[in-house]
């Protein structure tokens, strides 16, 4: 069977679920960020697959491009926040930040 849309979609679903699981179970804040990156990658993969096999234009690629750019921006801010977090709480455990006050 030739490789088609479904293959990519299922792979993306797998990546998505892995990312989600990483997000829910890792207590290290950077680990959560890694999970987010996995999820975003899955989304990008979906977009590109759809744009190739379903639409036939490059619009999906552009959207994926924007996702990559935004992911980079998001990672930069997230890391800055984590550094601050570590400075304040002396840990990177995301569960320790449950006080909900400054």
């Amino acid at each position: 069977m030739t490789i088609g849309l479904t293959h990519y979609l299922i792979l993306a679903a797998l990546l998505f679920c892995c990312g989600l699981f990483v997000m829910t179970t890792k207590r290290n804040a950077v680990g959560i960020l890694i999970g987010v990156e996995l999820v975003l990658n899955a989304a990008c993969l979906n977009l590109v697959a759809f744009s190739r096999y379903r639409v036939g234009t490059i619009d999906g690629q552009i959207a994926a491009l924007f996702i990559i750019v935004l992911a980079a921006a998001e990672a930069a801010v997230a890391i800055a926040i984590f550094v601050n977090y570590y400075r304040m709480l002396a840990t990177i455990d995301a569960d320790k930040g449950d006080e909900l006050r400054g």
Binding site: M1, T2, I3, T6, H7, Y8, L9, I10, L11, A13, L14, L15, F16, C17, C18, L20, F21, V22, T24, T25, K26, R27, N28, V30, G31, I34, E37, L38, N41, C44, L45, V48, A49, R52, Y53, R54, V55, G56, I58, D59, Q61, I62, L65, F66, I68, V69, L70, A71, A72, A73, A75, A76, V77, A78, I79, A80, F82, V83, N84, I92
Partner: protein, 174 residues
């Protein structure tokens, strides 16, 4: 089996394996390494889908930029022999259940749906096409993204600077 299929399955196994590695790994740097595997495999999948430019951008921005940033962040915040941050077993179990259910549901939907597909056509010059689209149809998002990047640059610099300079006072702590 065509060459494309072989390539796809190899890359899919690499991507999925690395993603699962991310899930299993307890060491955060190993997770980052696994993420590199996924990112690289996905980039190669983009190449497979003739989205060369995107694949390269994925490599340069994601693997060469974001991931290094993440590893950098890890180095600043984690110790190799620090406390192991493990989730409670019940949490992991619930998470696994939910995610597996989700995956099952997604696969069921994807498998069932007869997707209306088009025959993939090769763009003669996809880089040029992407450039045209970015500066034409998608000009406004493009500019917004640049503004966002500027804001992020300033914001990240502000957030990450030493705490003493955050306030308006000039006194230096530390």
């Amino acid at each position: 089996m065509s060459g494309e299929a072989i390539a796809f399955y190899m890359l899919a196994v690499l991507a999925a394996g690395s993603a699962l590695g991310c899930v299993i790994a307890t060491n955060i740097v190993r997770m980052a390494l696994c993420l590199l595997g996924t990112l690289g495999a996905v980039a190669l999948l983009y190449f497979l889908m003739a989205a060369n430019f995107l694949g390269v951008i994925q490599l340069i921005v994601y693997a060469g930029g974001t991931l290094i940033l993440i590893v950098f962040g890890i180095m600043v915040t984690s110790r190799m022999y620090g406390e192991k941050l493990k989730p409670r077993r019940s949490e992991a179990l619930i998470g696994a259940l939910v995610v597996l259910a989700l995956f099952a549901g997604l696969v069921a939907i994807l498998w069932r749906g007869p997707w209306v597909t088009v025959v993939p056509t090769e763009q003669p010059n996809s880089v040029a096409a992407i450039g045209q689209a970015l500066l034409g149809t998608y000009l406004v998002p493009f500019e917004l993204a640049s503004v966002l990047l500027l804001a992020v640059m300033i914001g990240a610099a502000y957030l990450a600077q030493p705490a003493a300079r955050n306030g308006r006072g000039t006194e230096r702590e530390e």
